[in-house]
C-alpha cells in the first residue's frame, strides 16, 4: 500500500515536472520570477491549519456561536492573506548566476547566485533547493541583493550541470509554499581527485627554443615587467613595490628554463582514472612550484605555460577527458 502510494507520488511528481518544463521552456540568465512561473500550494502545516479551521467551523455552526465563527472566519481570511503574501514575496525577484566554483571530486562544486530584489519590501526566507533538498536559505533585504549558493557534491569527474532547481518561500506563516522552477543551463567542472604524492614526474625537458622569454628559468635575472594577474607571488619584486613603484614581476632568462610536459603515455600500466589523477597531482605540484608545464593527452597537447588560468585549463581538460564534453 505504502509502496503504491510512493509510486503514485513519484509518477505525479515526474508528470508535474515535465509539464512545467514544457510550459516554461529553458531559461536564460538572468531569470526574473514573473507571476506566470510561480506555483503555490499549502504546506502540511497549511493543511493542518485548514483542518483546524474546518473543525472550528463545524463547532461554531453546531453551537450557533457567532463569536467562534467570527474567529474562524478571521483565521480563514488570514490564511488567504498569507497566501497572497507568500506569492508576492517571490514575485519579481531576479536571479543571476554570479560564478561557478569548480572543485575536485569529493568536494562540492558551487553555483553562486545573486538574488536581486528591486522592490522596497524585504523578501525573507528565500530557499533554494535541488531535487527537494534545500541548499540555502537567505533573506533578501529591500532594494538590495543577496548571494546564495547551490552546492552539489562532485562524485565523479567531468561536467556537473545544474539543469533544474527551485526557488521557494514559506513566508510569512509557513502555511503556503510558493515556488518557481528554474531550468538553468549552469555547469561547473569536477576535476579528478589528485593522486597521492608517490610518483616522481618524468624527467625535465630543457627548453631550447624561443620560448625563453615566456617560460621563465631560474638562473639569470632579466629585469622586471609589470605584474599580471596570475603571476606567482614568489616572483613579485617586493622591494620595488616597497619603493612605491607598483607591482612588478621579476623575470629570469637563461638556458635552464624548466618546462615539464606531463605525458599520458608515461603512465603505462595504470588505468584511465588513475592516470588522470596522477596528471592532476603533477599539474598541481608544478603550479605550486611556479614551474611551467604542459600536458600531452591522447589527441591533445597543451603547451607549457604558467598561471592560474593555465592550471584551470589543464585541470578541465583532465576532468573532461574522454567524457564527450567539449572543453572550452
Amino acid at each position: 500500500m505504502l509502496k503504491l502510494a510512493r509510486t503514485l507520488r513519484s509518477y505525479a511528481t515526474a508528470r508535474a515536472r515535465s509539464w512545467i518544463r514544457q510550459r516554461q521552456g529553458p531559461d536564460r540568465d538572468p531569470v526574473e520570477l514573473t507571476r506566470h512561473r510561480l506555483y503555490i500550494l499549502p504546506t502540511r502545516l497549511g493543511l493542518a491549519y485548514a483542518a483546524m479551521l474546518f473543525a472550528m467551523l463545524l463547532g461554531g455552526m453546531n453551537y450557533n456561536n457567532n463569536l467562534g465563527l467570527a474567529l474562524t472566519f478571521l483565521l480563514v481570511s488570514l490564511g488567504l492573506v498569507t497566501m497572497h503574501h507568500c506569492h508576492g514575496t517571490l514575485r519579481g525577484l531576479t536571479l543571476r548566476l554570479l560564478a561557478t566554483d569548480s572543485a575536485f571530486v569529493g568536494q562540492a562544486v558551487k553555483f553562486r547566485l545573486l538574488m536581486e530584489n528591486p522592490s522596497a519590501v524585504a523578501r525573507p526566507r528565500i530557499e533554494l533547493s535541488v531535487d527537494g533538498a534545500v541548499t540555502s536559505i537567505v533573506d533578501v533585504p529591500a532594494g538590495a541583493s543577496a548571494e546564495a549558493e547551490i552546492a552539489i557534491a562532485a562524485t565523479r569527474r567531468g561536467r556537473v550541470s545544474l539543469s533544474r532547481f527551485e526557488v521557494a518561500t514559506r513566508h510569512p506563516l509557513g502555511l503556503f509554499r510558493a515556488w518557481a522552477v528554474v531550468h538553468a543551463d549552469y555547469s561547473a567542472v569536477a576535476w579528478p581527485r589528485p593522486a597521492q604524492r608517490s610518483r616522481i614526474p618524468p624527467s625535465v625537458e630543457t627548453d631550447t627554443g624561443g620560448a625563453q622569454d615566456r617560460a621563465r628559468g631560474e638562473a639569470d635575472f632579466a629585469g622586471l615587467r609589470p605584474y599580471q594577474a596570475g603571476d606567482s607571488l614568489h616572483r613579485i619584486a617586493w622591494k620595488a613595490y616597497a619603493r612605491g613603484l607598483g607591482l612588478h614581476t621579476k623575470q629570469y632568462a637563461g638556458t635552464d628554463v624548466v618546462s615539464h610536459i606531463f605525458d599520458w603515455d608515461s603512465l603505462e600500466g595504470l588505468d584511465t582514472e588513475a592516470r588522470l589523477s596522477q596528471l592532476c597531482r603533477w599539474v598541481l605540484d608544478a603550479h605550486e612550484r611556479d614551474e611551467a608545464y604542459g600536458l600531452r593527452l591522447p589527441g591533445r597537447l597543451i603547451d607549457a605555460n604558467v598561471g592560474s588560468a593555465h592550471r584551470n585549463r589543464c585541470l578541465s581538460s583532465l576532468a573532461l577527458f574522454d567524457t564527450g564534453d567539449i572543453d572550452d
Partner: protein, 650 residues
C-alpha cells in the same frame, strides 16, 4: 539520557500566547490543571533561558498518561467544553516539556488557538473583546515568529507585521461573517455546560434570593412594542415552587398536572425579551404570558414558560402578556392537594397561626388580608442581611427575628396560607427593572430577583400576593436600593450616587445590548434582513452564495493590487526617460548615438550639428548631468529639464 534542547525561534512568543489563551479558562478548569500549566510555562521559559536539558522520554510519557487519566477521572470524558479545555491545557503542559523543534512550537500555537476558540464557546460577552484581540495577535505573532525570516526580529516589529496581516484579513472576515449561511439548530448533541451561572434556581432556601440580589449582572433585557407597564406591574415570572420541607421550597421534579385555562383582560403588552444565558430551561415572562413562539417554548401547568433546551446562549423571545388576567377557573384535585401539603412536622407556631386565621375568617380573602396586616403592623424589617435561621425557619422568622428578605416573607406567607387551608405556592422571578434611555429598553438585573406568593381563591383563580409589598412598598415601586438600609450591599449604589457614573453604566449596557442583538444573535433572519436593506429583493440562499463569491473576488483583486503596489519595482528614472525622448526627437535630424557614445558626447555632437538648437541642447545636457551625477539633484531641475525636452522641436 538527557538532551540539551537548542534555543528555538519563537519559543517565548508561543509561551506568551499560551499563557494569555489560558487566562479565561482558569476559573473553570480544576485548580491543579491551572497550576500544572503555569508551572510548565514557567519551567520551559527558564529552561529556554538557561539551557536546561529536557526531561527524559519515560517521564514525559508517564506524565502524558497520568494527565489523560486524571482528566478522565475528573470528567469521565474528554469531550465537551470543560473536559476538552482541561485536556488541551494539560496537552500544552506536556508538550512544553518536549518542545524541541519548530513543529512542536506550531502544535503549541494550534493549542493556543483552540483554547481561544473554547473560551468563545463558553462566553460571548463584549467584555471579552480586548482579551480576544490580544490573544489572537499574540498567537498569530508566535506562528509568524516561528516561521518567518530573521529579519525584523524585534518584538515591536513582529507585532506590527502581525497586526498588518490581521488588518488585511479583516474585510474578508467581516464579509464571511455577514454572508456565510447560518443553519439553524445543532446538528448533533451538545454537551450541556455544567458550569454554574448566576440566576434563579429550582430550589429556594432562606438566603438564596438575597445572595442573588447582591449581583449586579444583567439577567435579561426587554424591548416593549407597546407601552411599558408601571413598576408595580413588572412581575417577571420564573420557576414556581410547590414543595416545602420546613426550610426550602422546591419545584416538583418529573411530576405534572393538568393545564388550567386563563382569561385575559385589559390591553396586551407586546415585547421582546433577550435572556442572558442562565443554563436552565425557564423563559422569564411578564406575568402572565399569553402568546409565545410555539416551537421555542411551552407553558407548564403553573404558567411558567419553558424552553426545550437549556438557555446557554443569549436568546431572544417575542412574547405577549397581559397584566390583568384570571388564571384558572377550576383547580384540579391533584394540584390542590400538592399546594395544600404541609411538612410532616416543624414550624408548629406558623401552622397554628394559619389555623387560627382560618377559624377567624370564613372568607379566604380575609385570611390573606389579616396575614398582610400582621406584616404591616408588627415590626418586620426588610433587609438583605437577615440573621441565620435554625430548624423551624418560618417560626423563628415570624415570631422572633422578624428580619428577612423577600424569600422569607413569601415562604412564611405561603406556609401560613396552606395551614389555613388555602392552596398556595411560591413564585420566583424578578420584579422591576431599570429603563435605559440610550438603548430604549428595560434592564433587569440579578439584583431585581424576587419571590412572591400565589393563592387559590375559588372563583377568582390564582391571585398574586406579594407580602414584601406589605412590608416594604418601596421595593415594588422603586426598587431594592430604596427599600433597604444604606449600609446594605446592594449593587448599583454607585450608579445611584453619581449621575455621571449612571450615564456611563447605561452607555456600557447599551453597547452590551447592541453586541448581543447584532453580533451574538446574528442569524439567518438577520442575514436576509441585511440583504434586503442592501436592495436585494426576496433574498435566499443563492443571494448569500453570490454575495460570498463577489466579496471573495473583490478581496482577491484588492489584495493582489495592494501587494503588487507594495512589491513594485523602483520608481521611474525620469532623467533617463527624458534623455530617451531627446534622442527620439533628435532622430529627425538624422542624429543617433553611437554604440559607445555616452549622453554627454552625443548631446555635444548634436549641439554642434544643429546650431539653431545648440543652446537648448546644451542646457539639456547640463541639467541631465546635474540630475544624474550632481551632488544634489533638485525637483526644480527636473521640472526645467522636462520643460526643455518638451519644447525641443527639431
Amino acid at each position: 539520557m538527557t538532551e540539551r534542547p537548542p534555543r528555538l525561534r519563537g519559543m517565548r512568543w508561543a509561551l506568551a500566547a499560551l499563557a494569555v489563551a489560558i487566562v479565561p479558562h482558569l476559573p473553570f478548569v480544576p485548580a491543579w490543571i491551572s497550576l500544572l500549566l503555569v508551572a510548565a510555562l514557567a519551567w520551559r521559559g527558564t529552561a529556554d533561558m538557561l539551557g536546561w536539558p529536557l526531561p527524559p522520554r519515560w517521564l514525559r510519557v508517564a506524565m502524558l498518561t497520568a494527565a489523560t487519566l486524571a482528566v478522565l477521572a475528573t470528567y469521565g470524558t474528554l469531550n465537551g467544553i470543560e473536559a476538552g479545555t482541561s485536556f488541551l491545557a494539560l496537552m500544552a503542559g506536556v508538550k512544553l516539556l518536549e518542545t524541541r523543534n519548530s513543529r512542536d512550537l506550531t502544535v503549541l500555537v494550534f493549542i493556543a488557538w483552540f483554547l481561544l476558540y473554547a473560551a468563545l464557546l463558553r462566553d460571548q460577552r463584549v467584555a471579552q473583546l480586548p482579551w480576544l484581540l490580544a490573544s489572537t495577535v499574540l498567537t498569530t505573532a508566535a506562528l509568524m515568529r516561528v516561521h518567518a525570516g530573521a529579519a525584523g526580529d524585534a518584538w515591536p516589529d513582529v507585532l506590527r507585521r502581525t497586526a498588518a496581516l490581521l488588518a488585511q484579513a479583516l474585510p474578508l472576515a467581516a464579509a464571511l461573517f455577514l454572508l456565510f449561511p447560518r443553519l439553524p439548530g445543532p446538528f448533533w448533541g451538545i454537551q450541556t455546560s455544567e458550569s454554574a451561572r448566576t440566576g434563579l434556581s429550582d430550589e429556594m432556601t432562606p438566603g438564596d434570593v438575597s445572595d442573588l440580589s447582591a449581583s449586579g449582572e444583567v439577567a435579561f433585557r426587554v424591548r416593549f412594542a407597546t407601552a411599558m407597564p408601571p413598576p408595580a406591574a413588572r412581575y417577571w415570572r420564573g420557576p414556581v415552587l410547590h414543595e416545602f420541607d420546613g426550610r426550602s421550597w422546591r419545584r416538583p421534579r418529573g411530576q405534572t398536572f393538568p393545564a388550567q385555562g386563563v382569561r385575559f383582560a385589559g390591553a396586551p403588552v407586546d415585547y421582546q425579551i433577550t435572556l442572558e444565558p442562565h443554563a436552565r430551561h425557564w423563559v422569564l415572562a411578564l406575568d402572565l404570558p399569553a402568546a409565545w413562539p410555539q416551537r421555542e417554548a411551552t407553558q407548564s401547568y403553573d404558567f411558567t414558560l419553558l424552553s426545550p433546551r437549556a438557555i446557554n446562549d443569549v436568546t431572544a423571545y417575542v412574547l405577549r402578556s397581559y397584566t390583568k388576567y384570571t388564571a384558572g377557573t377550576v383547580l384540579p384535585l391533584s394540584l390542590r392537594h400538592k399546594d395544600l401539603s404541609l411538612p410532616a412536622s416543624g414550624n408548629p407556631r406558623a401552622v397554628a397561626l394559619g389555623r387560627a386565621l382560618a377559624a377567624r375568617n370564613a372568607d379566604p380573602q380575609g385570611v390573606v388580608r389579616d396575614m398582610l396586616q400582621m406584616f404591616r403592623s408588627q415590626p418586620f424589617v426588610y433587609t438583605m442581611q437577615p440573621p441565620r435561621l435554625a430548624d423551624d425557619a418560618v417560626d423563628e422568622f415570624l415570631f422572633s427575628t422578624r428580619r428577612g428578605f423577600c424569600e422569607h416573607y413569601a415562604s412564611a406567607f405561603t406556609l401560613v396560607m396552606r395551614a389555613a387551608g388555602i392552596p398556595a405556592r411560591v413564585v420566583t422571578g424578578y420584579q422591576g427593572g431599570d429603563f435605559n434611555p440610550y438603548g430604549g429598553y428595560l434592564i433587569v438585573r440579578q439584583s431585581d430577583a424576587h419571590a412572591w406568593s400565589e393563592v387559590w381563591i375559588d372563583g377568582r383563580g390564582w391571585l398574586r400576593v406579594d407580602p414584601t409589598a406589605a412590608v416594604a412598598p418601596e421595593r415594588i415601586e422603586k426598587g431594592l436600593i430604596d427599600a433597604v438600609g444604606e449600609d446594605e450591599p446592594v449593587p448599583g449604589r454607585l450608579r445611584e450616587a453619581s449621575a455621571l457614573w449612571a450615564q456611563v453604566a447605561l452607555g456600557w449596557d447599551t453597547v452590551n445590548d447592541f453586541w448581543n442583538q447584532r453580533i451574538v444573535r446574528f442569524n439567518a433572519d438577520s442575514q436576509f434582513d441585511l440583504l434586503e436593506r442592501l436592495g436585494i429583493r426576496e433574498p435566499d440562499w443563492r443571494s448569500l452564495g453570490l454575495g460570498l463569491a463577489a466579496s471573495l473576488a473583490v478581496f482577491f483583486v484588492a489584495l493582489s493590487a495592494y501587494l503588487g503596489w507594495k512589491f513594485r519595482g523602483p520608481t521611474r528614472d525620469w532623467p533617463a526617460r527624458l534623455h530617451e525622448i531627446t534622442i527620439r526627437r533628435l532622430r529627425k535630424r538624422g542624429l543617433r548615438p553611437g554604440p559607445i557614445e555616452g549622453p554627454v558626447a552625443f548631446l555635444d555632437r548634436a549641439a554642434a550639428a544643429c546650431p539653431d538648437l545648440a543652446t537648448r541642447i546644451r542646457d539639456i545636457r547640463n541639467l541631465y548631468v546635474a540630475l544624474r551625477y550632481g551632488p544634489s539633484p533638485t525637483l526644480a531641475d527636473l521640472r526645467r529639464l522636462k520643460y526643455l525636452v518638451n519644447g525641443l522641436r527639431p
